[in-house]
């Protein structure tokens, strides 16, 4: 009887346990789907049957936390934590995290240390326990960064113990991402998703990883997570952030408010609202939100680091530095705060305090790749020379200073005078201009990580860019890049850094084009194709092209397209309206409305008018590049004179090139000229201009070749060989001034070849422009020529011609030191001494 009774009791108990498992799964499923209330109700009714189920207690506590009922959550966690079994440590962890959320750090740390003690003293810990220990270790890493490594290992152990539980993997991915180790983070999230394709938190982790790599997929992935769980607060917060980056503040606000509907005390959601209020300059709203946040958690430095981070992304570096400083005041262990403060100080040109704060950040969190890279860069600053040049501080690497200094200073001063007159504005000085011979260093200076695809950045009073030696010969035009970035200095200064990104970039590219023909980007077949395929964005959404490109070339296309907007505006309304709009941005609460208001056109009308302008400007080219379905140029793909379509650019160009290669110059010329007529605005290396120049040279028609090259570089100022060839042809005709102009333009592309400097010096000599001759001779010396004696002599000669006998004498001694029997140098030395003697005698 007793055994039967025991069996019945056991059966009943097991029956009860089995029902609870299924219900547990159902509650978890409801939670994952965001049906929090239903999950809470179900959990509540299950608890009524068995209030000692630790798993249920924890889950209910987590649901309460999800919906912002922190006291109720704490109660359940406390209850679960008192019960023996595998949920105890998780319950302690949950309680600790609640304490952290309320700013009760000491209470949190006590619990976290308890969890670690349990790890050290207990055996047979399961996956959930290991997850709890790993999470606790991660939190304690804020005080002891060595613990982060252990946290990674513990998460790995938890995953190994139970690969089916996604939580450890998600937490590991988040930790790696937090330490800027995106490659591994991405791998971890993908592994979790392989086993749990629709886990919303894993999808969110993936979205964050994609965002780190500037991928536009981040939005879609987040939307995917929200489709599964529309009430997932972290996903709503992340969407809010993405919208803020797109400067779509209404949409961002909507997302944050949706998050708060689910959890009214979600600090991160409140933080997003605070960021929006700041960016929209709604001080009253900002203060209201700030008070609410500090009421919930008086030590919540995360609000200020979020403000600092997003402010700096919106180029409000001064504000960012201020917010970061507040974060540190609230929480002296806010290593992120120190990092953000340091980075923004460097961007503002405050090099010493910036570096000091970065070092503090790194000491507290040595796994931050972003900070580590920047500190390594800062270590190399000793190799750079800082030159005070009036309004500028020019920072050049020691090995490039002698060569580049004069060119950079000259162009910078010219740009300043131009922009000062054009905008009637003087920005804060000095303006710091830094050129990096190593692109990886420039990349780190810009964003903290290597590999960014930019040529230059402007932080306001600081410009950083690739030196011409950072890339291959002919890869870019450093002169136009410097001009572009200096335009930004003015735009940012005039607007207190509140100019929309598309506006500033488009205007800066347009400024390049105004400065020199050929500067400022070119239209190319890819751009035309993008227009024909409907990929180009309307003006009203052009910002997206910069921040979240939807195809690889969209950023480059957006730069050029935006510059055309300003070409359109100035053609129709003049330049003054642009200056007025810039001034209006400074105090505007609705920047998107400023341009339509100034033009007296609403956004849709502006979009339509600009589109009409583009279509008219490129009418011929668009027709010549359009691929119509019913047309073909020969089924085999082989284009012949018979099959080439007369109004199709690629047919004409391709055939022209083929004929040129075959040596049929007469026929090639016809087709290449036709291609040029069809798309005259395109002057890339593969365009008709370059091919025709070569053709005419083959035919012994240098004048025709010259004409092609002139047209080419008037559009494309990046083709180094075209500039040199044009200079050569002009020189052969005796057009010294024009030849010199072509060579000077070439130096803005690549100044490291001695020959152009030598040729330029010769032309300038014939034009008696001795100061410039001296500049070129100095450049030649800086290039460390083999024949240094000759280089010193030539420089001495130029100095002598300028009337600087003292410098001439110095250089001539250097020449003769190397080559004592150098006849010309000997004669110059004697001549200088004679002149000095005569001058002394005259005195």
């Amino acid at each position: 009887m007793k055994s039967i009774f025991a069996w019945v009791l056991l059966a009943v108990a097991q029956l009860g346990h089995a029902a609870s498992d299924a219900q547990l799964e159902r509650i978890q499923a409801l939670r994952l789907a965001g049906d929090y209330q239903q999950a809470i109700d179900l959990a509540g009714s299950e608890l009524a049957a068995d209030d000692r189920d630790a798993r249920l207690l924890n889950l209910l506590g987590e649901l309460r936390a999800d919906t912002g009922n922190l006291d109720a959550a704490a109660l359940r966690f406390a209850q679960a934590g008192e019960l023996p079994g595998p949920e105890r440590l998780v319950a302690r962890l949950n309680l600790a995290e609640l304490h952290l959320q309320k700013g009760e750090r000491e209470a949190a740390e006590n619990l976290l240390r308890e969890i670690r003690t349990a790890y050290r003293t207990q055996s047979g810990l399961g996956a959930r326990d290991l997850y709890a220990v790993a999470s606790a270790t991660r939190h304690l890493g804020e005080s002891d960064p060595q613990l982060f490594k252990e946290a990674v290992r513990l998460f790995d152990d938890a995953i190994e113990r139970d690969p089916s539980d996604p939580l450890a993997g998600i937490a590991l991915g988040e930790l790696l991402l937090e330490k800027y180790n995106n490659q591994e983070a991405l791998q971890v999230f993908q592994e979790v998703l392989m086993a749990n394709q629709e886990h919303p938190l894993a999808l969110l982790g993936l979205a964050r990883s994609q965002h780190f790599d500037y991928s536009s997929d981040a939005v879609l992935t987040t939307l995917g997570a929200l489709q599964i769980n529309p009430n997932l607060v972290p996903a709503r917060v992340f969407m809010a952030r993405l919208f803020i980056e797109l400067e779509q503040y209404d949409d961002a606000r909507h997302e944050a408010e949706r998050a708060l509907e689910v959890n009214p005390v979600a600090l991160e959601a409140l933080a997003m609202l605070g960021v929006i209020a700041h960016l929209e300059r709604d001080q009253a709203e900002f203060e209201r939100i700030e008070s609410r946040i500090l009421e919930l958690n008086p030590g919540y430095a995360g609000f200020y680091t979020a403000l600092a981070d997003l402010a700096s992304q919106n180029r409000l570096y001064q504000d960012a530095a201020g917010f970061a400083a507040t974060a540190i005041e609230l929480d002296p262990k806010s290593w992120r705060g120190y990092g953000l403060l340091g980075m923004n100080q460097l961007r503002l040109g405050l090099m010493r305090p910036g570096r000091a704060n970065l070092e503090r950040s790194f000491a507290g969190d040595p796994y931050n790749v972003w900070i580590k890279n920047t500190l390594q860069l800062a270590d190399s600053f000793d190799e750079y020379v800082e030159i005070e040049a009036g309004r500028f501080v020019v920072v050049l690497h020691g090995r490039e200073n002698a060569l580049l200094r004069e060119y950079v200073e000259e162009l910078a001063q010219l740009a300043y005078r131009h922009f000062e007159a054009r905008y009637r504005h003087e920005p804060q000085q000095p303006i710091r201009v830094e050129l990096y011979p190593d692109h990886a260093d420039f990349s780190v200076r810009s964003v903290g990580l290597a590999g960014v695809g930019l040529l230059g950045v402007c932080f306001g009073p600081v410009v950083a860019m690739d030196s011409p030696s950072a890339r291959e010969r002919g890869a870019f035009n450093w002169g136009s890049t410097l001009w572009h970035e200096l335009a930004h200095v003015f735009h940012l200064s005039m607007t207190d850094n509140r100019v929309p990104r598309w506006f500033s970039e488009g205007l800066a590219v347009y400024e390049e084009r105004l400065a020199r023909p050929g500067w400022g980007g070119d239209v190319d077949p890819g751009f035309m194709r993008a227009y024909l395929d409907g990929q180009l964005l309307p003006v009203s959404r052009l910002n997206n092209g910069f921040v979240r490109p939807s195809y690889p070339e969209q950023v480059i296309h957006s730069y050029y397209q935006a510059s055309l907007v300003f070409e359109f505006i100035e053609t129709r309304w003049g330049s003054e309206v642009v200056r007025q709009v810039l001034n209006a941005f400074k105090h505007s609460v609705d920047p998107d409305a400023e341009l339509p208001r100034a033009l007296q056109l609403d956004a849709a009308a502006l979009d339509a008018a600009f589109d009409a302008y583009l279509r008219e400007k490129y009418a011929v080219a668009l027709a010549a590049l359009r691929e119509d379905a019913d047309e073909s140029s020969g089924g085999s793909g082989q284009i012949t004179p018979e099959t080439a379509l007369p109004d199709k650019y690629f047919d004409q160009l391709s055939l022209g090139n083929t004929l040129l290669q075959q040596g049929d110059l007469e026929l090639a010329e016809l087709f290449l000229l036709k291609a040029q007529q069809l798309f005259p605005q395109y002057a890339g290396a593969d365009s008709s201009y370059w091919q025709l120049a070569g053709l005419y040279l083959q035919r012994g028609e240098p004048a025709q070749a010259e004409a092609q090259l002139e047209k080419m570089i008037a559009i494309n100022a990046e083709h180094y060989e075209a500039h040199l060839l044009l200079a050569k042809l002009r020189g052969e005709r005796g057009e010294r001034a024009a030849a010199a102009a072509a060579l000077e333009a070439a130096l803005y592309i690549y100044p490291y070849d001695p020959e152009p400097h030598r040729d330029l010096a010769a032309h300038l000599e014939s034009l008696q422009q001795w100061r410039k001759v001296a500049r070129e001779r100095r450049a030649l010396l800086a290039l460390d020529p083999v024949d240094r004696a000759e280089a010193f002599y030539q420089l001495a000669y130029a100095y002598e011609r300028v009337g600087d006998r003292s410098s001439a004498r110095e250089q001539i001694l250097y020449a003769l030191e190397i080559a004592p029997n150098f006849r010309n140098a000997q004669e110059l030395l004697l001549s200088l001494r004679q002149a000095d003697a005569a001058a002394t005698g005259a005195q």
Partner: protein, 331 residues
Amino acid sequence: MGVSALAQPRLRTALAMSLLLAWNAAAARHHLLIVSGIGGTDEFSQQFARRAGSLYQSGLDADIDPANIHLLSAQQVPQASGRTRAADKATLLRTIDEIGASAGTGDMVFIVLVGHGNPRGDGAVFNLPGPDISAAELAAKLAGFTGQTLVVVNTASASGPFVRALSGDNRVIITATSSGREYHATLFGEYFVAALADAGADRDKDQRISMLEAFDYARREVRREFDSEKRLLTEHALLDDNGDGVGSLEPGEFAADGEVANRTYLQQPRSLATGADAEMVAMLERKRDIEIAIGNLKKRRENMSSNVYYDELEVLLVDLALLSRKIRMLQ
């Protein structure tokens, strides 16, 4: 009775001439052996032929007796049409024997290898049609050149081991690479050959290109080309002239390697203008003294302040300039 007034100028001239003859007797004969090895492709074959032709012309321009210029080539060399022999190993060894037989004590023998090389064992070889020639084999063949200044320039890939093999007294050994592991086709040869024809390589403006100047020119231009293409340098040329078997990457006039190379020229020394009299000889000797003083001053530079150094240098340079001007006026 004294020497007649008419006889006196003759006596001065005779004295000067005897001094000149002594000078000329010291002027060595130069021998140039150019070996253009197997190209492998049309592109390389044309390249090597072009370099060999340029070297041949440089030899002629350096006033080397054409009979003392030997060109062995695996390709046609237009500049030396009719004077080119096969570049196989047997011919090479035989030619070296011929040079050895005709070279006198104090002569200079230049051997320039243009082509490909590759490592072999712990050494390297230079590629010829048929069997290649190793560094060790070449060293053995050149062992008998003890009375001459020997200059061997190997512009091939993987040529570095030739330094250790050929190093010795009174020898300048130049290789395009520092080791046998640098096996890519080199740029060094192109620029070394160009240096011999480019006045721009004449750093000290003495109207001659020394082996040091040619080496330095080539080394710098190779680096410039790699830098402009943002490529890592894959060849590091060496020069050894102190016989220690270790080449220098940056030899110099006052460095461990470079002193001998600095005074070794392809240019066949010429005799001085005839008719030079004692005054001219004295001026030339004075010129030589000033040049030596300048050299000595440069050696002491490290221990002097910059101002003092350049003040003293200027004094010497002015003297030299005035004297040179006078010499030119009298010539």
